[in-house]
C-alpha cells in the first residue's frame, strides 16, 4: 500500500514540476476571464499565450488595465448604456421629484367596490380617493387651480393636483434644486467640501423657495388640502408653516432632518415613496431588483416603521410604490400587478402613473408622452385596489371614464360616502379613550370587540404606560404584569416595547396582576416577617386601564391615550424582556391567605362564593376552601361571554337565592374582575361596600391595630 502511494505521489509531483509554466498560464487566464474553454486550454498546453474567449469584447476602459464590470450573461446592461445615455441627454431621466413642487390635492371620498363583489363580500373600507395633477405654467398660475377645482367640484369625485413645472419644452431642465443636488452628490465633481457648491446650493434653495412659496400660499387659500412635494426639510418646514397638509417625499423622509420636521408637525399627512437609491439623477442607471415587488414592499414597510417610531401616526401615512423611480418598464408593470402585495401593509397606496413614458412605449406613440387615454385601463387595477389614491393629470376625462364604468357595471362607485369602516373604528377608540371613567377593558367588553387587535392594543397601551412611568419616575423600573384571558391567548404586543414583562400563568383575578413581586415570591409566608414590612416601591405596575401605584390617574390616562394610537414597533435589540411566572394562581392564593392572621380558620362556616363567571372563578373558591370553609361555588363557569351575566356583585339576587338554598352562613359576591365585593348573610340581607368598609374599620379599632398597621404602597 505504501509503495503504491509513494509511486503515484512521485508521478504527480513530476507532472506538476514539469508543467509549472502551463499551470501559471492557466491561473492567469482564469483570473482574467473567469472561465476558459477547450481551445484556450489547447493553446496553453501548446505553450502559446491563450486566445481570448470568442464572445470577448475588450472594453473602452481598458487603459487602467482592469476589466470592465460587465458579465456576458446579458442580465446587466453595459455601462454606459447608450439608451440610458440618450435618455439622460434628452432630460427624461433628470430628477423629476427633486423639484419641490406644489401640489394641490382635492380629495373626494369615493366608494369603490371591486367587480368581483358577487363572489367576494365587498369590503366597506374600500375607498378610492381620486385626484389629479396638471402642469402649472407661470402665466396660468392663478387661473388653472380655480378652473380645475371647479371642474372637480362639479364632478364631486375628482380633484386635481398641481405640480409646478417649467413648460414642457424644457421639462426637467434648468431646475436649480436639481443642479444643487447634483452638486451635493458625493459622486459629483463639485464635492460637498467645495464652498462654492454649498453656497450655490443655499442660493438655489432660497431662490426655489421664493418661487414656490407664493404658489403654495395661493393654493392654501383655495380651501382644499394641499400637498407639498419636497424632500428638503427646509422646504417642508416652510410649506407646513404656510398651511400645507401633506408632505409628499420621493425620498421617503430619508434626508437628514426631514423626519424630524414631519414628526414635529402633528396632524400632517405623509406620503412615502420608494425610489432606488437617493439620487434621481442616477436612479434609472441600470436599476436591478431581485424581486421588485418584495423589495419595494420591504422598503416601504421599513420606512413606515421608522416614521411611526418617530411618532408619526400610522393613519397619517400613505405609501407610493414610485412608478418610474429607478425602475424599468418591466419593473413598473410588475409593481402594478403586485399591488395586492403592497396593500397587505395595511396602508393606502398612492399611485401616480399617468403620462409616464412607459405608456408611450407600450402604445408606440412615445412622442406624445403617454396620451391621457392610455392611462385609463391601466389605472383600473389601481382603482380596484382598496383605499388607493390615484393621481391623474386629466381630471374631467377620468371622472367621465369612471362614470361610464359605474354605469356599465364595470365598477361600482358610490360617490359621496363620508365614512369608511376603518375611521369609524378609530373614532370609537377615541371616544372610549376620552371617556373619563370607562376603563379600556370594560369598553372593549361592552362593545363585544375583544378581538386580537384590541387585546394587542391594550397590552401595548399597558406597556406604554409602564414605560412612561419609568421615564417620569427617574430610576424606577417600568414593569408590566400580564395575565391571561381565557379567550385571548396571544401575548404579543407587550414585549414589543422596551419594558420588562412578567407573563403570569393561568387566569388570575385582575387585582392579582398588581402583586408586588416581593409578595408573590414563593417561600414561607404566613407569619413571615417580610409581610409586616412595607414592600419597597421600586416597580411601577400597570393593570389594564389602571395603575396600582402612586399616580393612578396619570397612568390610566397614558394607557388610554396609547390605546388611541397605533402600536409602535421597536427593533429586535430593544425588545422588552419577558419573565415567566409559573403557578401564578397558586402564588396568588397564598398571597390572599397571607393577608389574614395565621390563626384564622373558617372551619364550620358554609360560604357561597359567586365569582361572576369572571377572573376569580378558579382562585376564589380555593382560597376559602384552603382556609377551612365549606365552599359552594356559583358563577364559576365562564364561557367567555357570560361574565357578570345575572351573577356576581352587580346582580346579588343570585347569591341571595343560593345562600338560602344551600342554607349557607354567608355569601361572597365578586364582580367580573374581582375587585368589588358584596356579602350576603344567612337571612338574605345584602351588605354593600359602605357597610363592609365600616366592619373593616371597626375590626381594626377593636384590635387597636390602627397604630401598628403600616402603609404599604
Amino acid at each position: 500500500m505504501r509503495r503504491i502511494i509513494d509511486e503515484q505521489y512521485a508521478i504527480a509531483r513530476k507532472l506538476i514540476e514539469d508543467n509549472r509554466d502551463k499551470m501559471h498560464a492557466m491561473a492567469s487566464a482564469l483570473l482574467e476571464w473567469e472561465t476558459i474553454d477547450g481551445e484556450q486550454i489547447d493553446d496553453i498546453m501548446a505553450g502559446k499565450p491563450p486566445r481570448p474567449p470568442k464572445d470577448w469584447t475588450p472594453s473602452a476602459s481598458k487603459p487602467s488595465g482592469t476589466n470592465p464590470p460587465v458579465s456576458t450573461d446579458g442580465r446587466r446592461p453595459q455601462w454606459p448604456d447608450p439608451a440610458i445615455d440618450a435618455c439622460t441627454q434628452r432630460g427624461l431621466m433628470a430628477p423629476f421629484a427633486l423639484v419641490p413642487a406644489v401640489s394641490m390635492l382635492w380629495r373626494a371620498r369615493v366608494w369603490l367596490r371591486p367587480h368581483i363583489a358577487a363572489r367576494y363580500e365587498p369590503r366597506p373600507s374600500a375607498r378610492l380617493t381620486l385626484s389629479a395633477h396638471g402642469n402649472l405654467a407661470d402665466s396660468a398660475l392663478h387661473d388653472r387651480p380655480r378652473a380645475s377645482a371647479r371642474d372637480g367640484h362639479r364632478q364631486r369625485d375628482a380633484g386635481f393636483l398641481l405640480r409646478r413645472r417649467p413648460p414642457s419644452g424644457q421639462r426637467r431642465r434648468a431646475s436649480p434644486i436639481a443642479s444643487a443636488w447634483s452638486a451635493r452628490a458625493p459622486t459629483s465633481s463639485t464635492s460637498a467640501a467645495n464652498p462654492l457648491g454649498r453656497a450655490r446650493t443655499r442660493r438655489a434653495c432660497r431662490k426655489r423657495l421664493d418661487r414656490v412659496m407664493p404658489v403654495l400660499e395661493h393654493a392654501c387659500k383655495l380651501g382644499v388640502p394641499v400637498s407639498a412635494d419636497t424632500s428638503r426639510p427646509e422646504v417642508m418646514r416652510a410649506a407646513l408653516a404656510l398651511g400645507a397638509d401633506i408632505i409628499n417625499d420621493v425620498r421617503a423622509l430619508r434626508m437628514p432632518g426631514a423626519l424630524e420636521v414631519v414628526a414635529a408637525h402633528a396632524g400632517c399627512g405623509v406620503c412615502l415613496m420608494h425610489m432606488l437609491g437617493d439620487d434621481p439623477a442616477v436612479m434609472q442607471q441600470a436599476p436591478a431588483y431581485d424581486d421588485v415587488v418584495a423589495d419595494v414592499r420591504s422598503f416601504l414597510h421599513e420606512r413606515m416603521l421608522v416614521i411611526q417610531h418617530a411618532g408619526v401616526a400610522k393613519s397619517a401615512c400613505v405609501l407610493d410604490p414610485g412608478i418610474g423611480f429607478g425602475k424599468t418598464p418591466e419593473h413598473n408593470w410588475a409593481l402594478m400587478q403586485g399591488l395586492d402585495k403592497l396593500l397587505t401593509l395595511g396602508q393606502p397606496l398612492l399611485i401616480g402613473w399617468s403620462r409616464k413614458s412607459m405608456l408611450g412605449a407600450l402604445t408606440g406613440r412615445a412622442e406624445e408622452r403617454s396620451p391621457a387615454r392610455a392611462a385609463w385601463p391601466q389605472r383600473w387595477p389601481a382603482c380596484n385596489a382598496a383605499r388607493s389614491i390615484v393621481r391623474v393629470h386629466d381630471v374631467a376625462a377620468t371622472v367621465d371614464a369612471l362614470a361610464v364604468w359605474r354605469r356599465s357595471g364595470l365598477v361600482e362607485l358610490a360617490a359621496g360616502g363620508r365614512q369608511t369602516h376603518a375611521p369609524t373604528q378609530r373614532r370609537r377608540w377615541h371616544d372610549a379613550t376620552s371617556a373619563p371613567t370607562a376603563s379600556a377593558a370594560r369598553w372593549a367588553r361592552r362593545r363585544s370587540r375583544l378581538t386580537f387587535c384590541c387585546a394587542s392594543a391594550m397590552r401595548w397601551a399597558a406597556c406604554f404606560a409602564a414605560t412612561a412611568a419609568r421615564a417620569d419616575g427617574g430610576d424606577r423600573q417600568g414593569h408590566a404584569h400580564l395575565g391571561l384571558h381565557d379567550r385571548v391567548g396571544a401575548r404579543s404586543g407587550l414585549s414589543r416595547r422596551p419594558a420588562s414583562t412578567s407573563l403570569l400563568s393561568g387566569p388570575i383575578p385582575t387585582p392579582g396582576g398588581g402583586l408586588p413581586d416581593a409578595r408573590a415570591a414563593p417561600g414561607p409566608r404566613r407569619g413571615d416577617q417580610r409581610l409586616a414590612q412595607p414592600v419597597p416601591r421600586q416597580r411601577h405596575q400597570v393593570l389594564l386601564g389602571r395603575t396600582a401605584r402612586s399616580c393612578p390617574t396619570t397612568g390610566s390616562w397614558r394607557s388610554r391615550r396609547a390605546l388611541g394610537e397605533s402600536p409602535q414597533w421597536v427593533d429586535s435589540a430593544s425588545l422588552g424582556k419577558a419573565r415567566r411566572i409559573d403557578d401564578a394562581s397558586g402564588r396568588y392564593i397564598e398571597f390572599c391567605k397571607s393577608t389574614v392572621r395565621h390563626d384564622l380558620s373558617l372551619r364550620g362556616l358554609k360560604i357561597v362564593i359567586d365569582a361572576a363567571h369572571g377572573a376569580a372563578y378558579h382562585v376564589a373558591p380555593d382560597v376559602f376552601h384552603e382556609l377551612g370553609a365549606d365552599v359552594v361555588a356559583i358563577g364559576c363557569t365562564p364561557d367567555g361571554l357570560n361574565i357578570n351575566d345575572g351573577v356576581g356583585a352587580t346582580a346579588p339576587a343570585a347569591l341571595v337565592e343560593a345562600v338560602a338554598e344551600h342554607r349557607a352562613d354567608y355569601g361572597v359576591a365578586l364582580d367580573g374582575d374581582a375587585d368589588r365585593l358584596l356579602m350576603v348573610d344567612a337571612g338574605g340581607r345584602v351588605f354593600n361596600g359602605d357597610e363592609l368598609l365600616y366592619v373593616m374599620v371597626a375590626e381594626r379599632l377593636a384590635k387597636g391595630r390602627r397604630s401598628k398597621a403600616r402603609w404599604a404602597p
Binding site: V596, A616, L670, G689, L693, M696
Partner: protein, 172 residues
C-alpha cells in the same frame, strides 16, 4: 357616594373620613396622598392598603370574615346601630351640549333641598362619565322624608333644560 350613615357612625367613633370622587382610582389617589389605609365605596370597591396595593374582592372578604370570626358576632350584629340612609337615585337624560353646572335653577333647587334636609340627609348631583346622564342622588335618614322630597320637592321637570329620566330606587 358613601352613605351618610357610615359617615356619622365613623364620626361617632372619631375616625376621619374624606370623600373622594366616584371611582376606585380616586379613592386610591386620596389614600395615597394622605397615606391612609382603608377606603371604599358602596359598589364594593374596598381598599386595604396595608394588605394589597389595589382593591381586591377576595382580600376584602377575608378581612370581613376575619372580623366576624374574631369577634364571634354575625355581620348583622357587627353593623348594629348603623342603618344606611335610604337613597334615591334619579337619572336625568341630558341634551348633549347642556352645561348643567351653569344652570341657576338647578343650583337653587339643590340648595333649597339641602337646607330642608340639614344634617339628616344630602343631595348629590353628578354627571355620568359614560352617558349624557345626570345622576341625582337624594339620601335622607328618614325614608318618609326622602319619599316626600322625591314626590313633592325634587322633580326633574322643575329643571327646565331637561326632561325626567328613569327613576331608580337604589335602596328602597
Amino acid at each position: 357616594m358613601t352613605n351618610m350613615a357610615i359617615e356619622l357612625a365613623l364620626r361617632a367613633r372619631d375616625v376621619p373620613l374624606v370623600r373622594a370622587k366616584v371611582g376606585d382610582r380616586y379613592i386610591l389617589e386620596e389614600l395615597s396622598a394622605r397615606r391612609w389605609l382603608l377606603g371604599g365605596e358602596g359598589s364594593g370597591h374596598l381598599l386595604a392598603l396595608d394588605k394589597h396595593t389595589t382593591g381586591d374582592g377576595i382580600i376584602s372578604s377575608l378581612q370581613v370574615l376575619q372580623a366576624i370570626c374574631h369577634s364571634g358576632r354575625s355581620l348583622a350584629q357587627l353593623l348594629q346601630g348603623v342603618s344606611l340612609f335610604p337613597q334615591t337615585l334619579i337619572n336625568v337624560r341630558l341634551a348633549p351640549d347642556v352645561d348643567w353646572k351653569a344652570n341657576r335653577v338647578l343650583a337653587a333647587e339643590q340648595e333649597a333641598v339641602q337646607r330642608d334636609l340639614a344634617d339628616s340627609g344630602r343631595v348629590l348631583i353628578r354627571a355620568s362619565g359614560t352617558e349624557p346622564l345626570l345622576r341625582v342622588m337624594v339620601e335622607a335618614s328618614d325614608a318618609e322624608l326622602a319619599a316626600r322630597l322625591r314626590r313633592t320637592g325634587w322633580r326633574a321637570q322643575r329643571w327646565p333644560d331637561a326632561r325626567e329620566g328613569q327613576s331608580v330606587d337604589a335602596r328602597p
